[in-house]
């Protein structure tokens, strides 16, 4: 079986599980929304200020929500003792990892698709002219987040205090991603909006580097 096909089967399994409960998605969404609301309490921004600080806030919300949401992706397998079954399947460990990354990407992307319009309404940030470019930035940034996050979720699943361990491992590694994603988003929300290509290229480079590294180490991550 090809890696792509195996990964899509793992992806389908993850989506099916989530659709049965929908607990992960709703919790992630509400958490990110709370962060966005708290922002207004903490800083009381004017419209021009929210255009300046909004991109940072948005990405902080995604990063925090992601670092909480990614944790069950391996911990759930462990709790129900299905990790061994997955490991026994005649597919490469990269396919398992890839399927889980894809599932996490879908979850986070759905949460973002709901959150960004709410953010735009609450803080009066126009999205109309920049939608496609914004989607590009969001996709590249989210991809980097879930690549590193899924690998680290596999690591932290074996440690004590794992809910706490994942953000601790993940957030410092994502620091360059945060800078790039925020700068790219800010250039889009500026007046006039323009997409800073250097940051888009940086995000793409981040994704490629970490995807290659995950491919290299995936056998060690899932070994018994």
């Amino acid at each position: 079986m090809s890696t792509a096909r195996a990964a899509s089967i793992v992806l389908a399994k993850e989506l099916r599980m989530e659709l049965r409960t929908r607990e992960l998605l709703s919790a992630t969404l509400i958490f990110a929304l709370i962060v966005v609301v708290m922002f207004s309490y903490a800083f009381d921004p004017t419209p021009s200020e929210s255009r300046r600080y909004g991109p940072g806030l948005l990405w902080i919300a995604f990063l925090f929500a992601g670092s909480l949401m990614l944790h069950p992706s391996f911990a759930r397998e462990q709790a129900s003792e299905t990790m061994d079954a997955l490991r026994l399947a005649p597919i490469s460990s990269f396919a398992i990892l890839l399927g889980k990354m894809a599932a996490n990407f879908v979850f986070l992307a759905v949460a973002e698709a709901i959150l960004v319009p709410i953010f735009a309404v609450l803080y009066d940030v126009p999205l109309v002219g920049i939608l496609w470019r914004l989607i590009l930035v969001l996709a590249l940034g989210t991809l980097g987040l879930v690549i590193a996050g899924t690998v680290f979720a596999a690591i932290s699943a074996h440690s004590r205090m794992r809910e706490l361990m994942l953000p601790l491992l993940l957030l410092p590694v994502l620091a360059p991603l945060l800078v790039a994603a925020v700068q790219a988003t800010r250039s889009l929300m500026g007046d006039p909006p323009s997409l800073d290509r250097a940051w888009v290229a940086f995000l793409a480079a981040f994704d490629v580097i970490f995807m290659t590294a995950s491919w290299l180490v995936c056998d060690f991550l899932l070994e018994e």
């Binding site: 590193a148 690998v151 680290f152 690591i155 932290s156 074996h158 440690s159 004590r160 205090m161 361990m165 601790l168 491992l169 410092p172 590694v173 620091a175 360059p176 800078v179 790039a180 700068q183 250097a198 940051w199 940086f202 480079a205 981040f206 580097i209 970490f210 590294a213 180490v217 060690f220 991550l221 070994e223």
Partner: protein, 240 residues
């Protein structure tokens, strides 16, 4: 053993001389005067920490490809030594910056990269403390070690790009246009001394890891023997 004692004595002598050279031999700096002398320890601490982190990264890769415990011991020892050196760099930096720049800290590329590097390796050490099983701990920590080190150039580039777009007046770090020859010599000697010190500490830390491993093995052996016969000679009940 004898070699280690004499090596320690030599390094101690080097460190004493380095201190003397930094304080009395190196010429006075024109604008910063005495404050600038912290530079003879700040720069060596940075090079020591970076070397140690690189050793840890290389040892992590070596562990993943060979699965020999020794590489894991080296990786954790180097990470710990690197964190200590990095902490020295992070403390001496602001001490120098406050009188010269007028601020303790600036989010410049070099400073930010070092800070993130420090956080990453603290997380690495924390992670090791929280995984029980030794084989798994070694593998997963090595994977994280590789990712953490890969992140360093990315952090640096992102900050470079970011700060060059928004230049800050305070950035004139970097010794810039040439060093006085005596200053250069003293600095070189200080770097060599601190690197030697780092090697000595690293070797000791490695030895400690080896002893811990040995102790664990002996303990396990003792426990299996206790199961065989509780009244065997030399049986001491341990309160664990």
């Amino acid at each position: 053993m004898k070699l280690r004692v004499s090596a320690t004595v030599v390094v101690a002598a080097m460190m004493i001389f380095a201190g003397y050279a930094a304080l009395f031999i190196a010429p006075d700096e024109r604008t910063m005067h005495e404050i600038q002398r912290i530079f003879y320890f700040h720069v060596p601490a940075w090079s020591a920490s970076f070397t140690a982190f690189f050793v840890s990264f290389a040892a992590s890769i070596a562990y993943l490809s060979s699965k020999r415990d020794r590489w894991d011991w080296l990786a954790v020892s180097a990470a710990e030594v690197g964190v200590v050196a990095c902490t020295i760099g992070l403390v001496t930096g602001p001490l120098w910056a406050k009188p010269v720049w007028g601020i303790w800290w600036t989010w410049d590329a070099r400073l930010t990269t070092t800070f993130i590097l420090w956080l990453l390796y603290i997380s690495y050490l924390l992670l090791r403390g929280l995984i029980e099983e030794p084989g798994r701990r070694a593998t997963l920590a090595a994977v994280f070690g590789v990712f953490a080190f890969l992140d360093v150039p990315l952090v640096y580039v992102s900050n470079r790009l970011w700060r060059t777009q928004h230049p800050q007046p305070v950035i004139f770090g970097g010794s810039g246009s040439g060093l006085d020859p005596t200053m250069g010599k003293v600095l070189g000697f200080c770097i060599v001394s601190v690197l030697c010190l780092m090697v000595i500490v690293l070797v000791d830390r490695y030895r400690l890891e080896e002893l811990r491993h040995e102790l664990d093995e002996l303990r396990q052996e003792a426990e299996t023997q206790n199961l065989d016969g509780q009244n065997a000679p030399g049986y001491v009940p341990t309160a664990r």
